[in-house]
């Protein structure tokens, strides 16, 4: 990139700059005309110059030029107007000029603004483009937040400056020179004085500003570092909490802010000092005129008329001069910022743009063996990680890489993935250096997976299909205003030097995913998810989510139908006790008393949370039936039991997890309450105390808490009250509760709750696990699985995929690679977080999956579990950066070498 901002702007906006200069020059004509006009109006029609006789007329709008050689050319003879007519005519001309000037100003400002914004867009894009082309090692030394603050904030003022970069100095310089010229015309000596003073300003002020520039640079760097530190705090918040270092961070931030304050305050001081001196110098010139010019005039060596003319001409000089100096200040400021940013982005060995050129058509495949030739790799400090390794991976073969933690096998895998660049030697694919092949070939033919996965903010689906988005394969179709907008987008992108690829196009390479379009993508994706054992997790995500029936038409009906199918399925398997469903006329023993009473999900303010206890209608129903007394006695027994069991335990005891209806802090409170109510009944208890006690009974589940408080009469009573509650409910409250109805979908409940329409029995430890597997097979047989998984794929992963567990992230990372059709799969310890049994299963399944449909890719797997090496055609053993053994599994076992040691350890 250019080192000078002026040259950068000139290179990219030359044409526009010249145009705007021309427009500014033209705009000067009406501008100066409008200066002269007031004088004409006052002198002419108002004061009567040239209208000496009543009824006298004057020629108006005579347009003629005196040209050399051609003589007088007359374009318009003009019309004869009287004094009054002339007044109105001239006033109209004045109004016209005001409008023209305004329009010129409007045009020039918009044009300059657009020019600046385009350049800003161009430079920002160029910077991000550079980031995409940095060599991998560069990222070890950069902080993301600092880079983004450069791209976002630090180049921002460049846009504002662009429009003024050439127009402003031309305009102001012209004005200043004109004024100076006028002074010279009046008196050469006074002109010289003015010129010298201007020269002094031009020399001193920029010198003083040098310090400002240094401070400005410091300000920029410290602000950038602050951004970096803030993002470090966000990223490292776990570490900060874990080690109680928040105050260390506070101290660091405070000291940085202190430094920034000092720099900024220094900056202000200098700025205003420079301003003061600048103003002083500007005012010194008239002082010299008065003083020296006056002296000369008194001595009679200078005409008084001349002196007055000089002084009046001078008043036009300081304005433009000051603006010019301000402009120069901005220029230097912007230049500093620009250089600062450009320096950071000038990196050796950036990737050639041609290597990343977009390839819409199939980019061709890698049919050649992948080879490391005398490859040595080193880390930043120069320590050798891999030494002179030569190895070939043939198409279609499976290779296991084993070795200790610092063996070097993982580095070889990184080199194959172009993430680590060779220190010496090279990685080749059929004679070509891998680093010189276009990414459209290597990035599709080689799929690399390591344990540190990065996920982009967005849905699970977006991330799963991320590896398929190489090029806009199917243009988005626009109609009407959309098409016009798209046209504008393309034109504007070109003007700012941006590419015009459309993000709304379909970027997904269905072919590479073994599909033909969006609709049949599901099958291959599901088989991949099954292989990495993630489909269950995704199904769970879907089943836990609440789905609006309107957004998924047909699904709700399918789910309601499925309730019956599930019932039958469970009965057939002899598992009908696994789920106790909600029946409008029966008590559900696995649900809480509260759930049984309400028999619905509270969705509105009348019933939600604590409001139910205060709801007058609900209380009247419960009170009328006498249920409140029963529930009070029940709650009293629960409180007694809980206090008896837990009173002696410290509040942090893990047993409190089991106490679902109270917290540890409630225990002493209830202890007091029990003492107060002892021997007294419902009638003696106050309103609040009743509420406190009845509240407990609402959360009671007999099979879980086992206090023996629920009799069949009580259950019948609760069901009866439930019926009364729903039947007599006022219309205004009906919207606040969604009643359990076997034939209707509950929009406020999760998918799983909707399918079960009941509660899983507490008797079976793995009840929910078993139900999930039954539900998943049932969804499959009913043809609903695809739609439900689809809902799971909508799950938002959060920043960096943090809403998934570490294991899920690793599985998704592997799935993302397996979705793609590649010639080479490089797996670099992709699943360190999984236990051995699971790893074993997944490795086997992956090896099977990549060979689906007769495909024959090569697989290189850096194993964390050496025991799996026998699944591969060939095994490479690395130790301390050297390739120490190589051969088939059987041969290596025979060999009694390092491999055998690794396996037995």
């Amino acid at each position: 990139m250019e080192k000078s901002i002026a040259r950068y702007i000139w290179t990219h906006t030359r044409g526009q700059q010249l145009w705007i200069l021309l427009v500014v020059a033209v705009s000067m004509i009406p501008y100066f005309l409008s200066f002269d006009l007031p004088k004409q109006i006052v002198n002419g029609p108002i004061q009567g110059q040239g209208f000496d006789q009543p009824g006298a007329t004057q020629t108006f709008m005579n347009i003629s030029f005196n040209l050399p050689w051609l003589g007088t050319v007359t374009l318009f003879d003009g019309v004869e107007l009287t004094r009054m007519q002339t007044l109105f005519a001239l006033s109209m001309v004045f109004l016209l000029l005001v409008i023209i000037n305004g329009l010129f100003k409007f045009y020039i400002n918009t044009y300059k603004g657009r020019l600046g914004e385009r350049l800003l867009r161009r430079i920002r894009f160029e910077l991000v483009d550079r980031i995409l082309r940095f060599p991998p090692g560069q990222f070890k030394r950069m902080k993301g937040a600092e880079v983004s603050s450069m791209v976002k904030d630090e180049v921002e003022p460049l846009g504002g400056f662009t429009g003024d970069a050439f127009v402003q100095p031309a305009l102001l310089g012209g004005q200043a020179l004109t004024a100076l010229f006028f002074i010279f015309m009046q008196n050469t000596w006074l002109g010289l004085i003015a010129a010298v003073m201007v020269g002094v300003q031009a020399v001193i002020i920029p010198r003083m500003r040098r310090r400002l520039l240094v401070l400005g640079r410091e300000r920029q760097i410290t602000a950038r570092e602050l951004a970096g530190r803030v993002s470090e705090i966000v990223d490292g918040i776990g570490t900060i909490h874990a080690y109680d270092t928040s105050n260390y961070e506070r101290a660091d931030i405070a000291s940085r802010l202190g430094r920034i304050f000092k720099i900024r305050y220094d900056l202000y001081q200098w700025k205003f000092l420079v301003k003061f001196i600048n103003n002083f110098l500007a005012q010194l010139t008239p002082f010299l005129f008065y003083c020296i010019g006056g002296y000369l005039a008194l001595q009679g060596r200078l005409d008084i008329g001349q002196l007055i003319a000089v002084i009046s001409a001078y008043k036009d000089l300081p304005g433009p001069l000051k603006d010019l100096i301000d402009w120069d200040q901005t220029r230097q400021d912007v230049q500093v910022k620009y250089v600062q940013v450009v320096e950071q982005f000038s990196v050796d060995k950036t990737i050639d743009p041609a290597i990343q050129a977009i390839a819409i058509k199939d980019a061709g495949s890698l049919k050649h063996p992948l080879a490391a030739v005398n490859l040595s790799l080193a880390d930043d400090s120069g320590a050798k990680l891999l030494e002179r390794v030569s190895v070939q991976i043939h198409p279609g073969e499976t290779v296991a890489i084993v070795g200790g933690a610092a063996g070097g096998g993982d580095m070889l895998a990184e080199a194959f993935a172009r993430l680590t660049w060779p220190e010496s030697g090279k990685v080749t694919a059929g004679g070509d250096d891998l680093l010189e092949l276009p990414e459209s070939v290597t990035g599709r033919a080689i799929s690399y997976v390591s344990s540190d996965a990065y996920f982009f903010y967005g849905s699970l689906r977006d991330n799963l299909l991320y590896g398929l988005k190489h090029a806009p394969l199917k243009e988005a179709v626009y109609e009407g205003s959309g098409a016009a907008h798209r046209k504008w987008q393309i034109a504007e992108a070109k003007l700012a030097g941006n590419p015009d690829y459309d993000v709304n196009s379909d970027w997904i390479d269905y072919d590479a995913a073994n599909a033909t379009n969006r609709d049949d993508l599901f099958t291959p994706v599901l088989s991949v998810l099954d292989t990495v054992q993630l489909s269950k997790d995704i199904l769970d995500l879907a089943l836990r989510s609440t789905v609006s029936p309107n957004e998924h038409p047909g699904l709700a009906e399918g789910i309601v139908e499925m309730r019956h199918a599930l019932r039958e399925e469970l009965e057939e398997a002899g598992l009908s006790s696994l789920v106790v469903s909600f029946e409008p006329g029966a008590y559900n023993t696995e649900a809480t008393v509260g759930e049984n009473l309400l028999f619905g999900t509270a969705t509105g303010p009348a019933f939600i949370g604590k409001a139910i206890g205060k709801n007058a209608y609900f209380r009247s129903v419960v009170g009328r039936s006498g249920l409140d007394r029963v529930l009070f006695d029940m709650g009293y027994s629960i409180a007694e039991n809980a206090v008896e069991l837990f009173a002696d335990l410290p509040p942090d005891h893990p047993f409190f997890q089991q106490l679902t209806f109270m917290t540890a802090d409630d225990i002493p409170e209830y202890q007091l309450l029990l003492q107060k109510l002892k021997g007294k009944g419902f009638d003696a208890a106050s309103e609040d105390d009743r509420g406190q006690i009845i509240r407990l009974s609402f959360r009671y589940v007999e099979p879980r808490h086992r206090f023996g408080l629920l009799t069949s009469e009580l259950m019948a009573k609760i069901v009866d009250v439930r019926r009364q509650f729903h039947d007599g409910m006022p219309e205004s409250m009906r919207g606040d509760i969604e009643r359990y109805d076997p034939e209707h979908y509950l929009a406020s409940a999760s998918l799983m709750d909707n399918i079960l329409f009941g509660r899983i029995s507490h008797k079976h430890t793995d009840g929910s696990k078993r139900i999930r597997s039954i539900v998943s097979s049932l969804l499959n047989s009913l043809g609903l699985l695809e739609r439900v998984i689809d809902i799971g794929l909508d799950f938002n992963l959060g920043a960096g995929g943090k809403r998934l567990t570490a294991v899920q992230r690793q599985k998704l990372n592997l799935a993302r690679a397996l979705v793609r059709k590649s010639e080479y799969y490089i797996f670099n310890r992709p699943l360190p977080g999984l236990d051995h049994r699971l790893q074993d299963e997944i490795v086997r399944d992956v090896l099977k999956l990549v060979r689906r449909d007769g495909r024959d890719p090569a697989v290189v797997w850096v194993l964390s579990n050496t025991g799996l090496a026998n699944l591969f055609d060939r095994v490479l053993v690395f130790d301390r950066g050297l390739l120490v053994e190589e051969g088939t599994h059987a041969a290596l076992v025979e060999n009694n070498g390092i491999f055998k040691e690794l396996v037995s350890s």
Binding site: G574, N641, E644, L645, F646, L649, H653, P654, F655, Q657, Q658, P703, H705, R706, F707, G708, H762, K763, H764, T765, D835, R837
Partner: protein, 156 residues
């Protein structure tokens, strides 16, 4: 079954016979009451251990995977405890426990179980006794197996 019945049953388990009834009630309350059909597994070999089980009623086999399929190494009796090794040593399950009759058990979660041991030394001692008993049992079986193996090799 109610809490108080469970307390009665727990008192019959040798491990808890010396623990006062109030604490047994707490133990019963904080554990999950689970039931299994015949042929169901409480847990599989290789799973991570997250709970111990006190068998209240029913029987189960202890099976270990081998190259020739699962081998039965012992039987779980009513009123005994299983699955405590994986919790105590933080290893994965060393064997599979599969029911042979309908089985009722109390499932004590790992953190509750460990807390129980620190709170009630009498349970700890009882657990030690059970483990030591098993160890001596295993040792004698091992020596028996060794001598048999030696005989086998001597014969060949």
């Amino acid at each position: 079954m109610l809490l108080k019945d469970e307390v009665q049953m727990l008192r019959r388990v040798p491990l808890f016979s010396n623990v006062e009834p109030g604490k047994l009630k707490l133990l019963a309350f904080t554990s999950d009451r689970v039931s299994y059909d015949p042929g169901e597994a409480l847990f599989h070999q290789g799973d991570t251990g997250d709970a111990a089980y006190v068998v209240l009623a029913g029987k189960a086999d202890i099976l270990v995977d081998s190259s020739t399929g699962p081998i039965k190494i012992a039987e779980v009796e009513t009123n005994s405890i299983v699955g405590e090794i994986a919790i105590l040593c933080d290893v994965s399950r060393t064997a599979t426990v599969q029911t042979t009759t309908p089985l009722e058990a109390l499932r004590i979660r790992k953190e509750h179980f460990l807390k129980l041991l620190t709170d009630f030394p009498e349970i700890t001692i009882e657990i030690m006794r059970v483990l030591a008993d098993r160890l001596s049992h295993t040792t004698s079986e091992l020596s028996e197996a060794r001598s048999r193996a030696r005989k086998d090799t001597d014969l060949h």
